[in-house]
């Protein structure tokens, strides 16, 4: 494995974001902008450039400069033979581009795709990789990337460095960097926008394509709690699947999204896609109402960054009641039913 010599550090520059593909070919998943927004700040701190890598079957699109108006460069590799996600092909391409351009930092989204791809690239590139980061910073002086992630079920927050290897790589949890999304209207109007670099997949990489026989989208729309600003979440204290429907009813009346603790998911009242927490989704909504949720650390790590947290619990001593902004002692089912009634009456 290459260890970087003192003289070689300077050869690795710039912050790279590996774009996460969205629902259809050529579309970018919005989570990319969360990470790239923080990437913009890190690049500025480091006096370096922000690069975005957009790869796959992009249908001939090259106008990604519009999406990434705040980046310095956008590298595009488009090939109609690539359909779906091929770990081997993508990792070989990214490794080759890393060798060619030598970024100092490479960031992926901690999605199923990113978490499968990043470790493969890290091994091929002799790079250190930190999974599921919740915050990223640049160490003053050394310029090392400080990568912070919860460990041991959220009981500990660990900060990780990769001092002797370049690039430094990390995957970043969707949702945790939402606040960094660059706002088009307030972004430096004098900024010239990104240069576009066109790259290609090479034959040996294409030969690694595995066969994708078909893709089945899950029925109904993807349950996208992460994008909602108002989340109403239920736990085991809701008591039954029927009672849980009051969460969904209130959410739909109030324009929020329903979610759950693992307690409610394990009880079989709602599918796993509802789960908030360490092994579920991380959210940063404006308001989070936790109904019948005790507030174990594994749940808290997924929602504690919300602006206002309201807890409704029968037990005033439950841990969630200490961390909430508003702690309501009472029966969640009754209280939510009354709240729904009030909304229905006012309509």
């Amino acid at each position: 494995m290459k260890i970087i010599n003192a003289d070689d550090y300077g050869k690795y520059r710039n912050i790279w974001i590996i774009a996460e593909p969205g629902s259809a070919g050529g579309i970018i998943n919005p989570v990319t902008h969360e990470i790239a927004g923080r990437g913009r700040q890190l690049a500025d701190l480091r006096g370096a450039e922000l690069w975005i890598l957009v790869t796959g079957n992009l249908g001939g699109r090259t106008d990604y400069g519009k999406d990434f108006f705040y980046a310095d460069r956008v590298v595009i590799a488009d090939d109609s033979r690539v359909s779906g996600f091929h770990d081997e092909t993508e990792s070989a391409l990214i490794k080759r581009l890393i060798d060619k351009y030598r970024p100092e930092v490479v960031l992926f989204s901690a999605t199923a795709r990113g978490r499968s791809l990043a470790p493969r690239v890290a091994v091929l590139s002799d790079a250190g990789l930190t999974a599921d980061c919740t915050s990223l910073d640049i160490e003053k002086g050394s310029g090392n990337l400080l990568q912070t992630r919860p460990a041991f079920g959220g009981n500990i927050i660990a900060t990780i460095k990769s001092e002797k290897h370049r690039p430094q790589m990390a995957t970043v949890r969707p949702g945790v960097m939402k606040n960094f999304i660059v706002d088009r209207s307030s972004f430096n109007p004098g900024f010239k926008g990104p240069d576009v670099i066109i790259e290609r997949y090479e034959e040996p990489e294409i030969l690694l394509l595995k066969k994708i026989l078909g893709t089945e989208k899950r029925r109904g729309a993807v349950h996208s709690i992460a994008e909602s600003e108002f989340i109403i979440s239920g736990g085991r204290g809701m008591g039954s699947a029927d009672n849980f429907r009051i969460i969904e009813k209130f959410a739909s009346l109030a324009g929020g999204a329903p979610a759950a603790s693992r307690g409610a998911v394990d009880a079989g009242w709602v599918p796993y896609s509802y789960q908030i927490g360490q092994t579920g989704q991380t959210v940063q909504a404006k308001c989070y109402i936790a109904c019948g949720i005790s507030g174990q650390i594994q749940h808290l790590v997924g929602m504690q960054a919300c602006e206002y947290i309201i807890a409704i619990n029968r037990d005033p001593g439950a841990p969630i009641m200490k961390m909430a902004d508003v702690a309501v002692t009472g029966d969640a089912v009754e209280i939510l039913t009354k709240m729904s009634d009030q909304l229905e009456c006012s309509e």
């Binding site: 999605t111 890290a122 500990i156 209280i335």
Partner: protein, 258 residues
């Protein structure tokens, strides 16, 4: 298979603020029980042998003994001081060297992630070191000749893909229902051999193992910061508190004023 502390997340010593490891029982990483079960099912269907492989301290023998009790054919523990402190890069390197050394492995099955570190990096890392194909988050597989068809999950749904073996897959719990240990299996496993492979036996590259061979390093651990807020307490009749919550939601403009 990785041994992890039981209760999964461990607990924090209130004085030292470090993870308590002592006195906590180790168990098989729960996701790895699905990996083992899938291997046993494949063997029962197609023949071949199942090797349970773990890198860890000597107490990890226990989970390998469990694997033997569940009818694994062979158990190997990679254990050496030079392996201690390895990060996921180095761990996957050492595991891949062991797979190479077995000489005849067609398929490596890992759990989706280990519940202590939660990185999900070791499986794809092994694949990369071996330069084999990989599929992560697999919920079903089938085999024909040297082709493996797999259902691979992501946030949007499922892909059906075909890989060429040898390959590495990581599995989610939807893939099967692990069998339970039987008394007979436990008794039979008592005297079976667990092979211990150390650094000298594996003959891997020392500069790539252990704390010093690992590209990443934990430089700081801390307790999660408390939320910086004060709590308003509300109690009373359901009717009264529901009005108060609605008032709060309107004041903060979370729901519209009427």
């Amino acid at each position: 298979m990785k041994q992890v502390p039981a209760g999964s997340s461990g607990s924090i010593d209130p004085v030292t603020k470090r993870l308590k490891r002592e006195g906590i029982e180790s168990v098989i990483n729960p996701y790895d029980t699905y990996a083992l079960e899938e291997a046993l099912l494949l063997r029962d269907q197609f023949g071949g042998t199942v090797t349970a492989l773990s890198m860890g301290p000597s107490r990890a023998e226990k989970i390998l003994r469990d694997a033997l009790a569940l009818s694994a054919d062979r158990a190997i523990l990679l254990s050496d001081r030079k392996f201690a402190g390895s990060d996921t890069w180095s761990t996957s390197y050492i595991l891949s060297e062991a797979v190479r050394k077995t000489g005849n492995t067609d398929l490596v099955i890992c759990g989706k992630q280990a519940i202590d570190g939660d990185t999900a990096q070791v499986g794809p890392g092994i694949a990369a070191h071996l330069e084999w194909m990989q599929a992560a988050y697999v919920s079903a597989i089938d085999i024909t000749g040297d082709l493996l068809s797999a259902e691979r999950m992501d946030e949007h749904g499922t892909d059906r893909i075909i890989l060429k073996t040898p390959a590495v897959i990581t599995v989610v719990k939807d893939i099967n229902k692990p069998r339970l240990k039987t008394l007979k299996g436990m008794l039979e496993s008592r005297n079976r051999e667990i092979e211990i492979w150390d650094f000298d036996y594996l003959k891997c590259d020392e500069s790539l193992t252990g704390l010093d061979g690992s590209p990443t390093r934990v430089v700081r651990t801390a307790l999660p910061p408390p939320r910086d807020n004060s709590t308003i307490r509300i109690e009373g009749s359901s009717g009264a508190v529901s009005l108060e919550i609605m008032k709060f939601l309107r004041e903060k403009m979370i729901i519209e004023q009427d």
